[in-house]
Amino acid sequence: MSTTHDIAIIGGGIMGCATALRLAEVGMRTIVLDQGDLGLGASGVNAGTLSLQIKRVKLMPYALAGHREWEAMGVAVGFKKPGGYTLAFTAREAALLQERQSLKAQAGAPIRFVSIDELRKAEPNLAPGIVAASYCPEDGYANSSLTGRYYRLRMRAADIDVRERCPATKISQTSGGFRIETPQAPVKCVRLLIAAGGWIKPLAGQLGVDLPINVRVNTASVTERMKPLFSAVIGHATGLLTMKQKTDGTVLIGGGWQGRGTPQSGRGTVTMETVIPNLALAQFALPALGSARVTRCWTGFEANVPDFYPLAGQLPGVANAFVLGCVRGGFTIGPYIGRLMGDFILGRETELSLFDPGRDFNEELQ
């Protein structure tokens, strides 16, 4: 016997899962498909930084709301809020920091500039040579490895159908909605949400919609356990470094350095040509890191559109089909924007406005 779901969600990353939970709350029969394991795409391998200092000005209200969601998720996702410093080592970086963080502060983030003395007192192991620093007490991190586990348990409790290792291989429109082919039984549904991260483009393409999506291959690295070296989330004015020491003592290092590969050809691979300068910058900022042994370096795919704002709304020209992805800082904002997306699909007014996937990506966003 085959049933028709009220909605099928393709992609069990943070976007798909957060939306599913919202929809199931009001009793929608929801099914989530993931080609791999839940939450092991970008949502499970990202650096986990929850930092307002690296959020876009126009996304600040979403990020602030996202931080509240993470705080509520708490220990189950390894949430910590030690605050965060962004460092400048040169006059040019100091100017960049001043300009950018001021705008973010105006947008509502509680960011302030701190003296080098104050910084040293808080983080004595940082390198000499820092010329300016900003601080945000709301900054913190969560453990992205726990994303899959967290949502698996919550979706199970909410009676959501979840099929892992079950790729959507073909989508077609039917009289009553959509039919999705999978290696298991096909899925029939009235509504469809494509929340497939770096893999959105070919899926939307199957419904005749060409979205101008690019995919970046971000890298991150982690060390073995170390004695406590620093407590805040540390960033660099250029964005080329983010790092945090987790409670278990491991240090996670990222900064948007690019690896190789495409979503269509496996998991992507790191290249030492970018990992090495990333780690070198980390050691430059915190010399004691030199003695840490690096245990793993990896990559994940992060999608974006030309204006670097989210795709969140109706799939242009296809009734009852929706898309959610390409959210810069998507780990931070995901749990919140997923909830908004749920409201949008339910036809409700959303607390903050969404981002029409049918917009002109070369125009300034209103």
């Binding site: 791999g36 394991d37 839940l38 939450g39 092991l40 499970g44 690296i54 876009r56 000005v57 080592f89 960049l96 950018r100 705008l103 490895s145 726990l146 994303t147 899959g148 586990r149 698996r152 348990l153 199970r156 979840v162 892992e164 290792r165 060390t223 073995e224 250029t238 964005g239 080329l240 948007g256 998991r267 691979t269 790191v270 290249t271 030492m272 990992v275 090495i276 300068p277 780690l279 070198a280 910058l281 980390a282 050691q283 430059f284 890191l289 030199g290 003695s291 840490a292 042994r293 690096v294 245990t295 793993r296 370096c297 990896w298 670097f308 810069r328």
Partner: protein, 474 residues
């Protein structure tokens, strides 16, 4: 792109060292890399300087011959060198090496992987007690430093290795409380026709057993160790009779002993092959997850060869021959003349050695009953102190892949990189979720292959070289 050498060989055991010698004979420039100081690999590991005067045995003699051959060849051998990353850049292989506290880079046109095997110890209650050694690991103690596992040792495990270890302990003056093996005598008898492909090796095995029997050491056939007790040191070893699938049956018996050598077969070490881009398939008869490799070491990736136990557990004799075949294939790719005679001769030698190897491996392959031995409190992942119950609960919530268990619990995220727990985790997932054997793959390996000090990765950094990238959109 020009490369530093024609061929880089990773691993200087019987497979890799012979591959290197063969390729150098063909006129190629060859670099041989191994984290051990001297060639020899696991089976022919060199003695440490403190025991150079120890009596020779057939392993140490074969190893010395191999080391001489490497020395006399044109091979550049880098010992004490860890390979921690493999990348394909244009049409060459780039390897990242750790020597002391220094990172070095090198490039090669072709790459031969001969990384060998690692040992599988299926977790049983008490297996983390001090005094419990891996069966294969124990041989490293003897070879390296003539260290015995204890004063009174139980040796337990399947296949020939248990008898080799017991006879070595005796040869070195140690005392064996008993040998316990889940194989039955008739399984051994049935293996003899295949093992006769290498009568020399079969005869050696027979002398180990004969030695134990004549000296009155109890051999418990079709039995398995099911628990170890002791707090700071092993004080007793508990064992039971097992059924043909190795499920424990009957009452528990106890032996007093201060040490236990325990092993459940060998697993091909495939992480380097995976980093180089090879996919794995499950081949139980080869010891588990392996890349697709032809008898002459050729793989699906151009200029990438795999040989020895890393391609499938067929033992040292097969490793020697497959190494030579891989060296020949790689050199032929660079224009060396290949003697068709030699090639055919090596192929048939390999077939014989492989027949012996497969029979030995078949005896040692873990069987499903082993899954019934661990209790909820048994540690499965040592790095993160995770028990069977921790992992089983996670599986029951739906985490039915090794990547999912790793993400949720950190099993495999510790310093060992999953080398010690992942086979047990795969088996546990299959058992708990009722999936067929061989359906749960090991997790995606991530570089570095071995932990590397950050300072060694990050050296010669100049702050001014940081790219001035376009700042992120505001």
């Amino acid at each position: 792109m020009t490369a530093d050498c024609d061929i880089a060989v990773l691993g200087a055991g019987p497979a890799g060292a012979n591959a290197a010698i063969q390729a150098a004979t063909g006129g190629c420039s060859v670099v041989l890399l191994d984290e051990a100081a001297q060639p020899g690999g696991q089976v022919w590991r060199a003695k440490s300087t403190s025991i150079l005067s120890a009596p020779a045995n057939s392993e140490s003699k074969a190893g010395d011959a191999l080391r001489r051959a490497v020395n006399q060849s044109d091979i550049t051998h880098h010992g004490s060198t860890r390979v921690w990353q493999i990348e394909r850049v244009d049409d060459v292989w780039r390897l990242y090496l750790l020597q002391g506290n220094q990172t070095e880079k090198m490039t090669a046109r072709a790459l031969i992987l001969a990384t060998g095997a690692r040992e599988f110890v299926h977790p049983i209650p008490g297996w983390t007690t001090p005094g419990v050694h891996g069966l294969a690991g124990a041989t490293a103690l003897f070879k390296d430093a003539l260290i015995l596992p204890g004063k009174n040792t139980v040796v337990a495990g399947a296949g020939p290795l248990a008898f080799f270890v017991a006879s070595e302990i005796r040869r070195l003056g140690g005392q064996i409380a008993a040998v316990i093996t889940p194989n039955s005598r008739s399984e051994w008898l049935r293996a003899i026709p295949a093992m006769s492909a290498r009568p020399d090796l079969l005869a050696r095995g027979a002398t180990w057993v004969a030695d134990l029997m004549t000296s009155g050491i109890p051999i418990h056939w079709r039995h398995a160790v099911t628990a170890v007790s002791g707090t700071s040191q092993v004080d007793a070893v508990h064992f039971q009779r097992v059924s043909p699938d190795w499920s424990p049956v009957d009452k528990v018996r106890t032996l007093n002993a201060d040490s236990l050598c325990l092993g459940h077969g060998l697993i091909p070490d495939t992480q380097a092959a995976q980093l180089a881009g090879l996919e794995l398939t499950y081949r139980a008869e080869l010891g588990g997850w392996v890349a697709r490799v032809a008898p002459d070491g050729i793989t699906e990736v151009k200029n990438l060869f795999v040989c020895g136990d890393g391609a499938g557990i067929l033992g040292a004799a097969a490793a020697v021959v497959q190494g030579r075949l891989a060296g020949l294939a790689a050199a032929t790719g660079f224009g060396a003349q290949r003697s068709e005679n030699l090639y055919q001769q090596l192929l048939s030698q390999h077939a014989r050695a492989a027949r012996f190897g497969r029979a030995a491996t078949a005896l040692a392959l873990p069987r499903p009953g082993l899954n019934r031995v661990a209790t909820p409190n048994t540690i499965i992942c040592r790095c993160e102190s995770l028990t069977l119950a921790d992992i089983r609960d996670e599986i029951r919530t739906g985490a039915t892949s090794t990547n999912a268990v790793k993400a949720g619990l950190r099993a495999g995220m510790g310093p060992c990189g999953g080398r010690y727990c992942q086979t047990a985790v795969s088996r546990l997932i299959e058992h708990t979720a009722n999936l067929p054997e061989g359906s749960v793959a090991p997790p995606t390996p991530r570089p570095p292959l071995r932990p590397v000090p950050l300072s060694a990765m990050a050296d010669d950094f100049n702050y001014d070289d940081l790219p001035i990238s376009k700042p992120a959109p505001l």
